[in-house]
């Protein structure tokens, strides 16, 4: 892949409707074009940022149509459009506005809570609750999303984040109730145990692929089932089951194995969020600057080139799956030590699969995964507020989420809908290689 030929900096075409057949050719007038013209032109380009923003907007607009189409009040108003046209139109707009408004105020910040806090001096916790919850919801997604993204950018499809998450949670749980240590030692050990548990589950498909060629997609999917039912079983036997219970509920973590809250007990955001950010930074550095990360990237884009250059494809595949599992395992550790403190079955909700989405949203870049996770989490958590305040079912928020993924995954469609110019080789590309890659 050529690096940046014809990238956005090189092709700020001027006033002429550029007849350029090669995107790399820069018209002479280019550099002289005023800055505002160049900025505006950027919005018309099919660069990743514009594509992502437009994909989200498309989803929001389509989701709005769905919200209206499923609202009996709106439909009723439309059935009487002849007599009250204004009411039908205003209801159409306000229903969608209230729905998205509720998602926003529920997951980011609520102006009414701010004004209440400012005028009374109380209730500042309430002001920050939405942000704190969004960060807490995003934490496991960031971990698992980074894991999946690491695999995708190296050409390895890890569909097993859910199983690795359970592996991490189980290991962290065991270390969390079996050991009795001061928090300064106990918590780091529990974090390491979680990482190790996930890494162990990730190692299996890695080594199988490296040694036998067994396809990681199949193996990781099957390992998900193994882990889901292993959890089911372990929760009903000692030492995992809570004594005196016949329910499938685990023992509870010791107090020293729990993540401290960052801003007091009123806000749920805890140390694992910082850990997630740190892992993102570490992965970013690793992929850019380390020798091993370089060989990951080389083998990801062309295994043959890597092999010719003397890299061991088998070793890299195994390592990638192990690291990927390690990160997913930390997701399970984060929910266990950050918010839940015990395991029940099924565990982890949909995090392992949402992680795939988040990795796609973030285009396999750590910063992208972070932003994608925060967006995803704000939709998840904000949807509760939407349901409470407008009566629109949470499921419709899931539809909006799915639509976002749909548009993100079809960049060519978005480019054509909005008539964006493509920006050369790197403008629009697949995010991952084919399964057989």
């Amino acid at each position: 892949m050529s690096a940046t030929s014809g990238g956005r900096g090189a092709a700020p075409v001027g006033d002429e409707p550029a007849p350029a057949s090669e995107p790399g050719v820069t018209p002479a007038s280019g550099p002289q074009a005023p800055w505002w013209s160049r900025t505006v032109r950027l919005f018309g380009e099919a660069n990743p940022l514009v594509l992502t923003v437009l994909a989200m907007l498309s989803a929001v607009v389509l989701g709005g149509v769905l919200i209206d189409a499923t609202s009996t009040t709106v439909l009723h108003a439309w059935s009487r459009i002849g007599s009250h046209p204004g009411r039908a139109l205003s209801l159409t707009v306000t229903t969608v506005a209230d729905a998205y408004g509720a998602i926003f105020t529920g997951s980011i910040i609520s102006p009414s809570a701010v004004s209440h806090a400012v005028s009374t001096g109380k209730g500042w916790t309430g002001v920050f609750t939405p942000l704190s919850e969004t960060a807490t919801y995003a934490t496991p997604l960031i971990f698992a999303g980074l894991g999946v993204a690491l695999g995708f950018s190296t050409g390895v499809f890890n569909i097993g984040a859910q199983g690795q998450l359970i592996g991490g949670a189980l290991a962290a749980l065991y270390a969390g109730f079996e050991l009795h240590l001061p928090i300064g030692i106990h918590l780091p050990l529990v974090v390491l145990a979680g990482a190790a548990g996930g890494a162990a589950v990730g190692f299996v498909p890695g080594i199988l692929k490296a040694r036998t060629g067994a396809h990681e997609v199949i193996v990781t999917i099957m390992l998900n089932y193994v882990m889901i039912y292993l959890l089911d079983y372990l929760l009903t036997v000692q030492p995992f089951q809570q004594p005196g219970q016949t329910n499938a509920v685990s023992r509870v973590l010791s107090g020293t194995a729990r993540q401290p809250h960052l801003f007091g007990s009123g806000l749920s955001v805890n140390l694992s969020f910082i850990l997630a950010l740190a892992m993102g930074a570490a992965m970013s550095w690793f992929m850019r600057s380390s020798t091993l990360g370089f060989s990951f990237r080389v083998i990801g884009s062309n295994p043959d080139a890597g092999r010719t250059a003397g890299m061991s494809v088998a070793k890299v595949t195994t390592l990638v799956m192990t690291f990927s599992g390690l990160l997913a395992g930390m997701a399970g550790m984060a929910t266990l030590t950050g918010t839940d403190f015990y395991l029940s079955s099924p565990y982890g909700g949909n995090i392992g699969f949402d992680a795939i989405t988040v990795a796609l949203l973030g285009r396999n870049k750590p910063v992208g995964v972070l932003l994608g996770s925060l967006l995803w989490a704000s939709l998840e958590y904000g949807a509760k507020n939407m349901q409470l305040n407008t009566g629109i079912p949470v499921d419709l928020a899931s539809v909006v989420q799915a639509l976002i993924v749909f548009f993100i995954a079809t960049p060519l469609l978005v480019r054509d809908i909005y008539h964006l110019r493509q920006t050369g080789a790197r403008g629009v590309q697949l995010f991952t290689k084919g399964w057989s890659g």
């Binding site: 409707p17 057949s21 306000t94 807490t136 016949t246 995090i351 509760k384 409470l388 305040n389 290689k433």
Partner: protein
């Protein structure tokens, strides 16, 4: 490889470069316009969250009854749905009560959902299932002024009402009826998960079958559940049994049902929520002479399409008890502690026989009626180990 789409894209400008400038301008305007609209949308929603609320809500409701579902969701054809039906019944009785709920998609949702509802000012928060017991108990402790009720879990707190049901009582009657109606001498059950709210049903049902054998000198075998020889009081452990390990997989329900029918069972009792629909499908395709009993709710109301298969339903009065809890919270007569549904207080019951009202012999109906009276009087041992298995 990664370049497939890029090379396709590379061809595109040649074909439609003439309109590029305008397209770019429009898309730029479009982006700004849509962004501005969205911002406006967010702002307007933020400043007036109630503007488009349904008319009913406009009369500032005095009392809000709230439910947090477990991961099964609000339409689980089981306890989440029943509990919400109870809250809705309360709202129908007293128009100052309105209801709302939040669904949980994972265990990590439980506490945030309870917190959201607390912030919303709910008059009572109903949580569903043992899975939420820790979260509910902690929330009740932290908010002594708020009122809580939890389905299927006992309570020791003043502001938390634990709703439990002795469903082994009506399941005992169901087991007796199944044994009496079986032509093949084999009946079968299976559960959704090996947890007390499920196994208590199976325990009572198997006891009923064995009791039938004992008093009628019959040899009806019950498949799918073998009670543990001894278990702690109230725990109803299985020695072995058929469990689907979820409450959603209807295909698995059909598979287990077919397996039990292959061993001769002609009456099936699934204790697995919506999984029972798969069992019903299998029983239906097995043809005449195969029946089942529904669980939790009256199947002829909640799964009408299969009513012709249901001898009866072994019900659990979740809706009624939640309704009463909501009404008591509204009236100010709410007390924490425990409510236990029994045959005596109507908290558990065998539903009407519906389509089988004429097919069930009068003798059997009379036996069940007198059995019910004797269970209420405490004269029947409900422990399956008290009777020999055949």
């Amino acid at each position: 490889m990664a370049d497939i789409t890029s090379s396709a894209a590379r061809v595109a400008p040649d074909q439609r470069h003439s309109g590029r400038r305008w397209a770019a301008a429009f898309s730029a305007i479009g982006v700004v316009a849509v962004a501005a609209t969205t911002a406006g949308v967010a702002a307007s929603g933020a400043t007036s969250p109630h503007r488009a609320a349904p008319a009913a809500r406009a009369h500032a409701a005095k009392f809000l009854a709230c439910e947090v579902t477990d991961t099964g969701g609000i339409n689980d054809e089981s306890f989440n749905q029943s509990a919400y039906a109870g809250a809705t019944e309360a709202a129908a009785i007293n128009h100052n009560i309105t209801t709302t709920y939040l669904q949980s998609s994972s265990t990590s949702d439980y506490t945030p959902n309870i917190d959201r509802l607390l912030a919303k000012g709910c008059g009572i928060i109903v949580t569903v299932g043992f899975d939420m017991a820790n979260n509910t108990s902690a929330a009740a402790k932290a908010n002594p002024k708020a009122k809580f009720a939890i389905v299927d879990f006992p309570s020791t707190q003043k502001n938390l009402l634990g709703l439990t049901y002795e469903t082994n009582q009506d399941a005992f009657l169901g087991g007796y009826l199944a044994a009496a109606m079986s032509k093949s001498g084999v009946v079968g059950t299976f559960g959704g998960q090996e947890i007390p709210p499920v196994t208590i049903y199976m325990n009572g049902w198997v006891a009923g079958v064995r009791y039938y054998d004992k008093v009628n000198h019959a040899h009806v075998t019950a498949l799918g559940y073998v009670p543990a020889a001894k278990s702690a009081p109230g725990l109803y452990a299985a020695k072995s049994g058929e469990f689907t390990n979820n409450f959603t997989d209807q295909t698995l329900g059909a598979t287990i049902t077919k397996a039990e029918m292959a061993q001769g069972a002609d009456v099936i009792f699934p204790v697995a929520g919506a999984v029972g629909l798969g069992a019903a499908q299998a029983v239906k395709s097995a043809g005449a002479g195969h029946y089942m009993e529904w669980v939790d709710t009256d199947g002829c109301l909640s799964a009408k399409q299969y009513c012709s298969l249901f001898l009866t339903s072994v019900t659990k009065g979740i809706a009624t008890s939640v309704r009463d809890a909501v009404l008591s919270a509204y009236n100010g007569t709410f007390h924490g502690g425990n409510y236990t549904g029994t045959l005596k207080n109507g908290g558990v019951a065998l539903s009407p026989y519906h389509d089988f009202a004429h097919d069930i012999p009068a003798k059997v109906k009379a036996a069940i009626a007198s059995l019910k009276a004797r269970i209420i009087a405490g004269k029947i041992n409900l422990d399956p180990n008290a009777y020999p298995a055949s």
